[in-house]
């Protein structure tokens, strides 16, 4: 598996070698113009764009460029960031029209001499590049994103040590647990663009993450939660969520797999697992 990935990376790098060399030459001693969306409705400031010239190197990320602009050009730029290593999900924004993490996007990988930076779409706007995540988190809370297991109370069950889980069991949900709640998928989704009640790809894929976890016994309840007029059925597999996800969560996959359970494509798998568990207990 690792060799395959290394091979893949080497092929990709060879493919882009010439392009990279060209860009490296351009970026070694150059600057880039950043067009930053500025707005502060609370203070009566109407939306406009500010252009800032920022020096860049081969490794400069959009976040580096924005922080340079904030430090040396205009300290009033509103920006949210934290870890600077694609781990916290705070610096999500629209970069050249596509939702990306600013810390994970190098200036050198963007086309054009001007970079346009805007706040994430589909989130209520606070100021400049900062948006309000409360709706997003509320959708997440609504899918009950925690293990539900009536046998999990240590106080009731003295013999309880741990819930057994094989590596295969873990693989079923692991990638969905990598979600950093950056909101890029929510911003890219065409249904979220118009439907305020749609939970969004993040919440739905987290519903699947807990649904398929064999430690969770709330499967029926989770299916009922998403089986709604504005629930899982309003996903049309446009795939934009998966194409922008920086962590390989692939929320579209989780949603379709969950829908498979609702449609009866994959009903037997979970039922078989539950039957096996019951037989083990009886024996």
């Amino acid at each position: 598996m690792t060799e395959q990935i290394i091979e893949k990376i080497e092929t990709m790098e060879k493919k882009h070698e010439n392009e990279k060399r060209q860009r490296e030459k351009e970026y070694l001693k150059s600057s880039v113009s950043i067009k930053i969306y500025r707005a502060n409705k609370a203070a009566g400031e109407s939306p406009h764009y500010d252009r800032v010239e920022v020096p860049v190197q081969r490794w400069t990320t959009v976040l580096d460029a924005l922080l340079y602009a904030k430090a040396y050009k205009d300290p009033s730029i509103g920006i949210r960031y934290s870890c600077r290593m694609a781990s916290c999900g705070s610096c999500g924004m629209k970069i050249n029209g596509i939702p990306r993490l600013a810390c994970y996007t190098k200036v050198s990988e963007l086309q054009g001499s001007e970079i346009t930076v805007e706040p994430l779409a589909n989130f209520p706007h606070i100021r400049d590049l900062v948006t309000d995540f409360s709706q997003f988190f509320a959708h997440h809370r609504n899918v009950e994103p925690y293990i539900q297991n009536e046998h999990a109370d240590i106080g009731e069950n003295n013999n309880l040590t741990e819930f057994m889980q094989t590596p295969e069991d873990v693989d079923k949900y692991l990638q969905f647990s990598y979600c950093i709640k950056c909101g890029l998928c929510y911003s890219a989704c065409p249904t979220v663009a118009t439907d305020t009640k749609f939970p969004g790809p993040q919440a739905l894929s987290q519903a699947y993450r807990y649904f398929i976890d064999n430690r969770d016994t709330g499967a029926k309840k989770r299916l009922e939660l998403v089986d709604d007029r504005h629930g899982i059925w309003r996903c049309h597999f446009a795939g934009s969520c998966s194409s922008v996800c920086p962590k390989g969560v692939d929320p579209a996959l989780g949603i379709q797999l969950m829908r498979g359970h609702l449609l009866g494509y994959a009903k037997n798998e979970k039922k078989m697992a539950e039957l096996k568990e019951r037989l083990k207990k009886d024996n």
Partner: protein, 126 residues
């Protein structure tokens, strides 16, 4: 999402969508047969002449085919329209209105098409 279940729900959304997928597959077959009948039996232009069309309406299997197309395509199409409209706005009034209107439009179209079939069938007998 439980708060959303204040709308009138005769069918669960999963049941509606299963119907949507089944009508899709059904419609595919019946529409394919319908198109083949227009191009494979006789030249296309000739198949559209009044006498030939009326003759079609005398065949019971053909009438059943047309009625199937009407029902399957109407259900699939208007449900699709309902989905698109539901995604555009989310007030209770809008959602209930969209549901009622799409069902009404579906019934109206099926009724109008069935009327054509019955009358055309009668015309051939004369």
């Amino acid at each position: 999402m439980e708060a959303n279940k204040t709308h009138m729900a005769m069918l669960r959304e999963s049941q509606i969508m299963k119907i949507h997928y089944i009508t899709a597959i059904g419609a595919l077959f019946v529409v394919a047969v319908h198109i083949l009948m227009r191009v494979a039996i006789m030249p296309y232009g000739m198949s559209l002449e009044y006498e030939n069309v009326i003759a079609n309406y005398q065949s019971i299997p053909y009438i059943v085919l047309l009625e199937s197309i009407l029902v399957l395509v109407s259900i699939h199409g208007f449900n699709g329209m309902r989905v698109i409209l539901l995604e555009l706005r989310q007030s209770k009034r809008w959602e209930d209105g969209v549901t009622v209107l799409t069902i009404a439009a579906m019934i109206a179209l099926i009724a109008y098409g069935t009327r054509t079939i019955i009358i055309a069938n009668g015309l051939g007998v004369e």
